[in-house]
């Protein structure tokens, strides 16, 4: 199996604080690779550097066999790297359908098309409704994103990421703030995507992580203290000491 994403020697400093500390990591094509770690470990900062919103101080990021370290956000998206945000980040005043349609549109060539109505364009609406159905929002297409429930907005996030037809998804705590019911639904959605896409999953919900992940990397103070299968991570003494033990109380 080849590597979808390879990170080498990544460093990000905010003033005196090192949020990413000489991090090296590789994600194999097709796997769900979870990144866990306590709050402030640098997980969101890592995703920001992968998408291009945050510029690292050092290190390289290779995606799909190419060095993307210096590429702007939109170009990485074009290469097939899609993200969802930890804090829901959708177009609040657009309908769910319009949100996804815009993501579809982004990957159908340039948008310097000035005349034809977008809202009735079957090339946008067709795929948009399919992606909404994929995440279980088919019957919520006409609702403004701001009027969707928190859980539904999280699902919309995923639909928008999928609509860019990515090779790899970067999910930043997709279950953040969700109740158990919504979480379970999200796990189901992600299970269906597993195998079709490479997924980097940042998540606090350990049940979800162990249900989905093929491999897990544990991040503490910006450094990877362990990488391995869920079994290995569960039994790793360093991990238990630094993180898992206190989080799950697992004996």
């Amino acid at each position: 199996m080849s590597e979808a994403l390879t990170i080498e020697g990544l460093v990000k400093q905010f003033g005196g604080l090192t949020a990413t500390d000489h991090l090296s990591l590789s994600v194999t094509e097709g796997e769900v690779h979870a990144v866990i770690g306590p709050n402030g470990a640098g997980k969101t900062t890592l995703i920001g550097q992968l998408t291009g919103e945050i510029t690292p101080n050092a290190g390289t990021i290779r995606f799909a066999g190419r060095d993307v370290t210096g590429l702007p956000v939109h170009q990485r998206s074009m290469l097939g790297l899609a993200r969802s945000f930890q804090i829901t980040n959708v177009l609040a005043d657009f309908t769910a359908r319009a949100n996804v349609a815009l993501a579809v549109q982004a990957h159908q060539g340039h948008s310097f098309r000035f005349w034809r109505k977008a809202a009735t364009d079957p090339r946008l609406i067709g795929p948009a409704e399919e992606f909404l159905a994929t995440v279980g929002l088919a019957d919520r297409a006409d609702i403004a994103a701001s009027s969707l429930s928190h859980g539904e907005q999280r699902q919309l996030e995923i639909a928008m990421a999928l609509a860019t037809q990515p090779a790899m998804l970067l999910l930043d705590e997709p279950m953040a703030g969700m109740g158990p019911e919504d979480s379970a639904r999200m796990v189901e959605i992600l299970k269906r995507l597993k195998g079709e896409l490479t997924i980097l999953l940042v998540e606090h919900d350990m049940d979800a992580v162990f249900a989905l992940a093929d491999r897990i990397t544990v991040l503490v103070y910006g450094r990877a203290i362990a990488t391995g299968s869920p079994e290995q991570i569960r039994n790793d003494p360093d991990v238990r000491a630094a993180y898992l033990g206190e989080e799950t109380g697992d004996a």
Binding site: S77, F85, V90
Partner: protein, 337 residues
């Protein structure tokens, strides 16, 4: 509520279409020029609405494009009158150049301004427009500070005669309808969705793969080009070109018109321009009249202080009528703050 809204807008457009006939019938030609100004400013405000209302870009320098458009006419007139270059009066040439020159200026100014956000964007667009303002003041040849009276207007040969107030009015009316139609297509197209999406959440748009800067820039250029056409009409209407039209105060007036009428709605700026000029025209008389009714003396002075009422009145409308006049028509009464 939508019925009331569409009915009202249709009524306004129909009433506007009838202005020259009515003004001629009641022998008050003054109304034609007042309403031509409304149409002209409706076009300018609509152009601003594309970037401000739909794109969330608060340009505080749109008077510059209005001024550039009018100077195309002024400069053409100057060379026709003084250097015998008759072709420089050609109306089609004026029209083309009032699209191209302000459009290119907006692209240039936008290319720099759009790298900034928020207050910086407001200040930098303001600074560029003031630069152009002082540049034209320095151009002594074309009248400098005093401006330039136009003895000849843009020449459309036998097609139309802009010296005829009614014909100029209908040209303005036709151009306004055309501009509204173009804007309608534009804001609902794929391009328009990107521009509106970037207003709603630019970060999200970049994350799904849009190089938003380019789209915002093109919208800014289109806006400048349309505003230039308003400048072309303004020069022909006032038969005068001057730097005062480029002054930042007029950029502010355009913003007020857009907000007053309803940002990000197609007809809002038209209603805003009509409302703004109506208030400007009739508020002094109204205040003088009220003064007489309540039995005050020296009521002439009351009329002169109309601006002290005008400003706060606009602020109240903007603060308390969400979505401006268009919002009121949709029944969206509520506070903006």
């Amino acid at each position: 509520m939508q019925m009331i809204r569409f009915g009202f807008i249709a009524l306004v457009m129909l009433a506007l279409a009838a202005v020259p006939a009515v003004a001629t019938a009641i022998d008050e030609p003054f109304y034609i020029s007042l309403f031509t100004r409304m149409l002209v400013l409706a076009i300018a405000a609509s152009s601003l609405n594309l970037v401000l209302g739909y794109g969330g870009m608060v340009s505080f320098g749109h008077a510059a494009y209005l001024g550039l458009g009018s100077y195309v006419v002024g400069v053409g007139f100057y060379h026709a009158a003084n250097d015998g270059m008759d072709w420089a009066l050609n109306g089609w040439l004026h029209l083309a150049l009032t699209i191209i020159i302000p459009g290119l200026a907006a692209l240039l100014i936008g290319a720099i301004s759009l790298r900034t956000r928020g207050v910086y964007f407001i200040m930098i667009t303001l600074a560029f427009s003031q630069m152009l303002y002082y540049f034209f003041i320095g151009l002594e040849r074309y009248g400098g500070d005093d401006g330039l009276s136009l003895w000849y207007l843009s020449d459309f040969g036998s097609v139309m005669d802009l010296n005829d107030d009614s014909q100029l009015y209908y040209l303005a009316y036709g151009l306004l309808v055309l501009v509204l139609f173009i804007l309608y297509r534009l804001v609902n197209s794929r391009f328009g969705m990107v521009v509106r999406g970037a207003k709603s959440n630019e970060r999200r748009l970049m994350a799904v793969g849009f190089p938003t800067y380019r789209y915002r820039l093109v919208a800014f250029g289109i806006s400048g080009a349309i505003c230039g056409v308003a400048g072309f009409l303004m020069a022909n209407q006032s038969e005068f070109v001057s730097t005062s039209e480029m002054h930042w105060v007029h950029s502010g007036d355009l913003i007020v018109m857009v907000v007053l009428g309803g940002m990000g709605t197609l007809f809002g700026p038209v209603l805003g321009a009509v409302g703004f000029l109506m208030l400007e025209q009739y508020l002094p008389e109204l205040m003088e009249g009220i003064c007489h009714i309540i039995g005050g003396n020296s009521c002439g002075i009351a009329g002169e202080y109309w601006k002290m009422v005008f400003g706060p009145l606009l602020i109240l409308i903007v603060l308390f009528a969400r979505g401006g006049i268009d919002g009121l028509l949709q029944g969206k009464v509520g506070r903006n703050v």
